[in-house]
């Protein structure tokens, strides 16, 4: 197994996630794309952990998983709040900050 095959897979997942964040309008789908990005990072951490023969990457990956779970919890709470106030979760409708 090459080191690069895992790193390239992670890079592809990351770019698909970036595309999703840019292209999607539905807030839940944007959160899903962020999960893709975080998983790509985790794959990199674990791959480097095997390459360097150390366990640090596993620890970091577990911490990232925990932070991602917290992020999804708060993120969906925010989405529910937006939906309750506006009856829509389209990100294009949130334009009060526009000057």
């Amino acid at each position: 197994m090459l080191v690069n095959q895992f790193l390239f897979l992670a890079a592809i997942l990351f770019c698909i996630g970036v595309y999703g964040v840019v292209a999607r309008k539905n807030a839940v789908l944007v959160l899903m794309s962020i999960e893709l990005i975080l998983n790509a990072v985790n794959l990199n951490l674990v791959a480097f952990s095997l390459r360097n023969g150390s366990v640090d990457g596993h620890t970091f990956a577990l911490y990232v998983i925990a932070v991602a779970a917290a992020e999804v919890g708060v993120g969906l709470g925010l989405v529910l709040l937006v939906y309750r106030n506006r009856r829509s979760i389209s990100l294009d409708d949130l334009s009060e900050m526009k000057g």
């Binding site: 197994m1 090459l2 080191v3 690069n4 895992f6 790193l7 897979l9 890079a11 997942l13 990351f14 770019c15 698909i16 970036v18 595309y19 999703g20 840019v22 292209a23 999607r24 309008k25 539905n26 839940v28 789908l29 999960e35 893709l36 998983n39 985790n42 794959l43 674990v46 791959a47 952990s49 095997l50 390459r51 023969g53 366990v55 640090d56 596993h58 620890t59 990956a61 577990l62 911490y63 998983i65 925990a66 932070v67 991602a68 779970a69 917290a70 992020e71 999804v72 919890g73 708060v74 969906l76 709470g77 989405v79 529910l80 709040l81 939906y83 979760i89 389209s90 990100l91 294009d92």
Partner: protein, 165 residues
Amino acid sequence: MLVAQNIGFAIIATLMIVGALRVVTTSNVVHAALWLVVVLAGVAAQYLLLAAEFVAVTQVLVYIGAVMVLFLFGTMLTRSRIGRQDDLNNSYWKLGIPVALVVFAAMALALANSFGTEKMPNDAAVVSTQQVSDQIFGPYLLPFWALSFVLLAAVIGAIVLARKD
């Protein structure tokens, strides 16, 4: 053994990339969530190939178990239509394609230059849960505490945000 590993990697990686593309292109929110399950399960399988069994089990428990249920509840509670929806993309969604391609080109160049055809070590032992926990409760204890507070704050924050007052 090594050939089998590579074939397994190729199959899982193809499934993951197809799943990820479907997540960002499908016009049905529930389908996107289910394709995301395919990607997350593929990531767990890659962790097993990378000899990280505890991380793989945590991935299945936390992501496929908990985060996906949260996503499906989010879809349900915001009454997104369960069927097809044609307005899931921005008007400027095409801009995302060059952005993603440029980011990928930069990363691919850097990776190809840095690692080339370097191979993973062949004789790597599976990392035991004991080693991981020795790391977490040894040198990385302080971030572990910080993380506990982050989770506590997230739980309280989610309740405060979502309750009706």
